[in-house]
């Protein structure tokens, strides 16, 4: 399994995402924002950080990078794509996922260990979890509040497109406690919390996040 991990100027969690891929016995392939091809990878991770400083809006500048045009095309053809935190914001700006992420309702950056409920275990990235399972992974973001209009929210709810929900107090004002969503096909997933920081209890709160990368392995092998 070859998984591309994109680095934009200002990307921070690319090394973590690459490590998570290796933990799942995959091969991590670094992709540069200026690349015009995806080097034959089976899936792509758009990792967290502050691409272009998160100036203007989080993800607004990164989504125009050459490599993103390739990602958009591949995603539309069904390639598994995961956006974590800033990566989720980039996928939303690129319209691969609906809605937008806005400033946390309490206006502070929040870094904490966050319980999530797995709502949908049929996406390319979540088959290893039981539906309804609760996992503990880090959340660290200043603009993680998920916003969308009523129609979009209804569409997400009705079609089981909410992948993760925050458990307990809503950390950032997200509508419907949404932590992560998927596209209609289930190959593109975006979430604000960081499963790649929870792959080893030595450096993370748990290893609960590893399941996402192992799920990918399953879906790539199956495909």
């Amino acid at each position: 399994m070859r998984v591309g991990v994109i680095t934009f100027p200002g990307t921070l969690d690319d090394v973590d995402a690459q490590r998570a891929v290796r933990y799942a016995d995959g091969e991590a392939v670094p992709l540069w924002h200026g690349d015009h091809d995806l080097k034959g990878v089976d899936a792509v991770i758009v990792p967290g950080g502050f691409s272009y400083g998160d100036y203007l809006r989080c993800g607004a500048i990164a989504r125009f990078a050459p490599v993103m045009q390739e990602v958009i095309e591949a995603a539309n053809k069904g390639m598994p794509v995961l956006g974590i935190c800033n990566g989720f914001q980039i996928l939303a700006e690129a319209h691969l996922l609906p809605g937008a992420l806005v400033r946390n309702h309490k206006l502070h950056f929040v870094c904490r260990d966050q319980w999530l409920k797995v709502e949908n275990n049929t996406t390319a990235w979540t088959t290893r979890y039981d539906e309804g399972a609760e996992i503990l992974v880090p959340l660290k973001s200043g603009e993680g509040g998920y916003q969308a209009n009523e129609d979009t929210l209804k569409e997400l709810e009705d079609n089981n497109r909410i992948v993760f929900r925050y458990v307990g107090e809503n950390p950032n004002g997200s509508r419907n406690n949404i932590a992560g969503i998927t596209n209609a096909k289930g190959n593109v997933v975006g979430l604000m919390p960081h499963p790649e920081h929870a792959i080893d209890a030595l450096t993370g709160p748990t290893d609960d996040g590893l399941g996402m990368f192992l799920s990918l392995l399953d879906s790539v092998v199956k495909a």
Binding site: A60, A92, E93, G99, A100, V102, H105, Q147, A148, N149
Partner: protein, 79 residues
């Protein structure tokens, strides 16, 4: 050279935590009579004379604002 101003505001139905924080703080600071505050972005662009209105509209819509959550206005001002 022309000067162009683009104002970008959160859509009315979208939560605006920043504006709300301002509105809540004002009475505490002793300022009464401000019933609502919304906070957005204000851009000032120096623009070559051959950049037309359609291009400016496109820049605002595709880049400076996110139409999913924001409204925007574009206007040319005296330099």
């Amino acid at each position: 050279m022309a000067r162009v101003v683009v104002d970008v505001m959160p859509k009315p139905e979208i939560l605006d935590p920043q504006g709300q924080a301002v509105a809540n703080a004002l009475p505490r600071l002793g300022f009464d009579g401000i019933t609502a505050v919304r906070q957005g972005k204000h851009f000032e662009l120096e623009v070559a004379d051959d950049v037309d209105d359609a291009t400016l509209a496109k820049i605002a819509e595709t880049f400076l604002a996110n139409p999913v959550i924001e409204d925007w206005t574009v206007r040319r001002v005296e330099a």
